[in-house]
Each structure stands twice: as C-alpha cells, then as structure tokens.
Symmetry: D2
Subunit: 139 residues, 4 copies
C-alpha cells in the first residue's frame, strides 16, 4: 500500500462519484486519522431561502468518510457505504461548507466514521453531525 495525497484522494472521489464533480468537492487536508473536506459555496447549490440542501450536506459527509478511509488504507476502491446516520442541526450559512471526518473504529471488515459539518468561519456551531460505516473489501 502506498499512501495517497489529498490531491490523489480528491481525484479518486471525483472519478468515482459524478456528484462530487458537480459539487466541486475538495479535500483540504488529509491525515491518517482525519480529513477536512469542503464544498465551495456556489449559488446553484442553494435552495430558496439561501441554504445548501440536505442532499448536498449528505453527499459531502459521505465523500469525507470515503476520503478518510482512503487516507488511512490507501486505494480501497471497493469500499462502500453500509450505513449513514445524519442529524441536521442548524442551517448552513451562505459560505463554504466544511466536513471534518475521523475514524472511530477500524476493523478488518469495516470503518466506523464520524463527520462534523460546519460553515466556514463558524466551526463551533455544527450544521450537521454524521456517523457512518464503510464496508471494506475482505482481503
């Protein structure tokens, strides 16, 4: 296994997930245990009333989980989301949306992850909180 850079993980996610390309999804930071991902603010993503939609938030959370798995394990392209649970907490602001993902538990068969999502500049007020499980291909 070779370690992947943030750029490589970003490219893998965009290749694998057409929606990530539409969202202009970016991986800002990649560490062995944590990832910071971003959806830049674009007017086309915004619902009437001025906020990012729930599905956009879920897509970012899912991509951030995938990124943290790739960052930890390398190129495991067969990893798939098995479960995702999201609580929406406050409306996002009309700015970039950030997702900080970390691995809660890694076993041979799955990675359980947590993602905290927040509006840029407002990290202390979570927009949403996610836990989820990626199933890993058995070696």
């Amino acid at each position: 296994m070779t370690e992947l850079t943030a750029q490589q993980v970003q490219a893998l996610i965009r290749e694998g997930l057409p929606m990530a390309e539409d969202l202009d999804l970016r991986i800002d930071q990649l560490e062995p245990e944590a990832v910071l991902a971003r959806v830049p603010f674009h007017a086309k993503l915004v619902r009437p009333g001025g906020t990012l939609s729930g599905p956009t938030i879920m897509a970012l959370a899912d991509a951030a989980m995938y990124a943290v798995v790739l960052g930890r394990l390398g190129r495991v392209e067969m990893a798939v989301t098995a479960n995702l649970n999201i609580n929406f907490l406050v409306k996002p602001l009309p700015v970039d949306l950030l997702a900080h993902a970390r691995i809660l538990r890694l076993s041979r068969r799955q990675a359980v992850c947590e993602v905290e999502l927040y509006s840029q500049g407002n990290a202390e007020e979570l927009v949403a909180h996610v836990t989820g499980t990626y199933a890993l291909p058995l070696a």
Copy 2:
C-alpha cells in the same frame, strides 16, 4: 389546506431542491399515507462499475420523505429534515430507482417516515432502507 397532486408536489420539490431537477426526480404516485418517487436511469448518474451513487440514493429518499409529508399536510414548505438513517443493502441495477415512502408517525411537531428503495422490476430486493424525521413548523 388544499390537497396537492403528485404533479404539484413534484414541482414543489424541484423548485426547492436544485439537485432534484438534476436527478429528473419524479413523483409517480401520491396518497395520504404513502408516496412512490422515482429517479429515471441516466448514464451521468452512474459510478464506474455501473451503479447509482450513494448520494443519489439518499437524495431520492429525502425527496420521497418530503413528498409524503407534503401529500399529507399540504404546502408545508418550512418542513426540514431533522434526521435520516440509511442502510445500503444491495447495489442498484442499471434501471430506474424507485422509493416507496410512508409516514410511520405524524405528530404536531414532526413526521417520522420510512422509505424502501428498490430497482424497477425488483421490488422484493431492497437497495436501501431509510428512516427519517421531518421537523414541522409549529402552527
């Protein structure tokens, strides 16, 4: 409150959610307690390997929950997703994806919903199962 037709609910969702327009989301059937929603198969939604992505499935599930709430309560545009839990079960086939949503419990403050997602022609094998809560505006 006036009852909404499937067409009206489809239009409300597409106006309120840019991603629904991108997915060409449709409301096939609308009843007081249940909804059948659909994402037609489009090549652009497909991941390498040939299946609809997780975020597409979540977006359909969320829209189906919103539709069943609108179908029951009429025009409650301030209803927002509070929680969504999804289990991904099998890969979707390269056909239309259907979502059958129903209300498990409606109270003054929220609607708890269940959504069963399956590939067209294969209703007995669930692609994903969702439960979620829509918070309702307090009268």
Copy 3:
C-alpha cells in the same frame, strides 16, 4: 446447521443476556425470515406515568433481532450487534410489548434487520421502529 425452535432461541437469548431473563423475554413465533418476541407486562418495568422505559424497548428490539438471526442461521452465538437505530413513536400501553423482527438483507458478513414494536392488541400503531445490523462471524 440444525434449525432451532422458538423455545431453543428463547433459552439461548436468556442464557446469553441476563437482562432478557429479568424482562421475562419470550419468543412467540420463529420463522426463517421473521420473529415475534414479547416482553410481558410487569409492574416493575414501568416508569412513573405508566409506560415501559426506553431501555426496555431497546432491549426487546435487540433481542428480537438476535432471535431472527438465530432463527435463520442456527446457532451463531458470536453474532453481535454492530448498529441499532431506534425511533420512539408513541408511548407503549400498560400491556405486553411485542416486537416483530425481519431480515432486510443477509450477506456473509452481516444481517440488516427491521423491528416494529407495538402494544398487544394495537398492532397498527407502532410504539417504536428499529433498524439494526448484526455482524456475523466469518466462516
């Protein structure tokens, strides 16, 4: 693998889970894909206000999931709960609480289950709805 009877599954659960003994947990019906489990009404389980507590409801749901896995796979004593998501819908009545569990998806590595919980005589009004995953020992 030999098939287990409802009585055998009930005994396995009570041996494995001291709380099930305290709750006088019973397996009423056992089929390959579904189980009906019961917590008989006992005054000692009741909170002030007269209803079964949340943890009692969760314990019944977890046991019903375990029972449906045992009913399908036989004696897999190493199966463990990996995830459980519960929505509490209405307060239970002061009668027996029933749990109808079924398997949504069985794969080599896990069983995803759904449990509907309701007060005896009131099956059309769910007390709680649960989805959960049992991790299976890899052969």
Copy 4:
C-alpha cells in the same frame, strides 16, 4: 429554573427509570454542556464471555443523554427520547463503563446529544458511539 446537582440528577434518573437502579447508575460529573455517567462493574450484568451486554450499554447512553438535558435545562421530567443511534465498536472490558455525553444542539423543541462510551482507564478506545434526540416539552 434552578440548577440541579449531579446527585439530584442521579436521583431523578433512578426514580424515573427502574433499570437505572438495577444498573447502579451513577452521575460522576455534571456540567452545563456535558455529563460523565457510570455503570459500575457488577458480575450480574456480564454476558457469558465476560462483557457488558448491548442493552446495558444502550441504557447507560440513554441515561447519560437524559442527564445532560437535565443538567442544562433543570427539571424537565417530560423530556423523552425520540431517536437513538448506536454503533458498537469494541467489547467493553470487565471494569466500570463510562459515558461522556454532550449536547450537540439545543433548540426549543429538542436536544440532539452525542455520547462516547468507554471502559474505565481506556478512554482512547471507544466501546460505543451514540447520537440521539430528546424531545422537550413545549413551553
């Protein structure tokens, strides 16, 4: 509203929840935003194989969420669990089980909480992770 002490919250939970008394549940620390709760190790709670059962872990998590709500809001005895999602991560050790609960988001109608559970002396390895929602009585 008068603030409650850890002892008062512990007493309220034990009065309201017979299972908490059986588990000898304790509130070690109570702060406006966070709580540390404990189930002391007792042999009678242990499954064959030597670990605390899933329902015991869920009962502790639920009590810790209730405690953090009481600690923040004072005596809101009508608060009830609306949703609880738990991921079981590693088996607990044969020692006291601790639960650190905090409020992710408090609104007029609900409190969304997170609970990290771990074996005493092993805080860096989570036994389970919980998110959940308490519905609050509307003023």
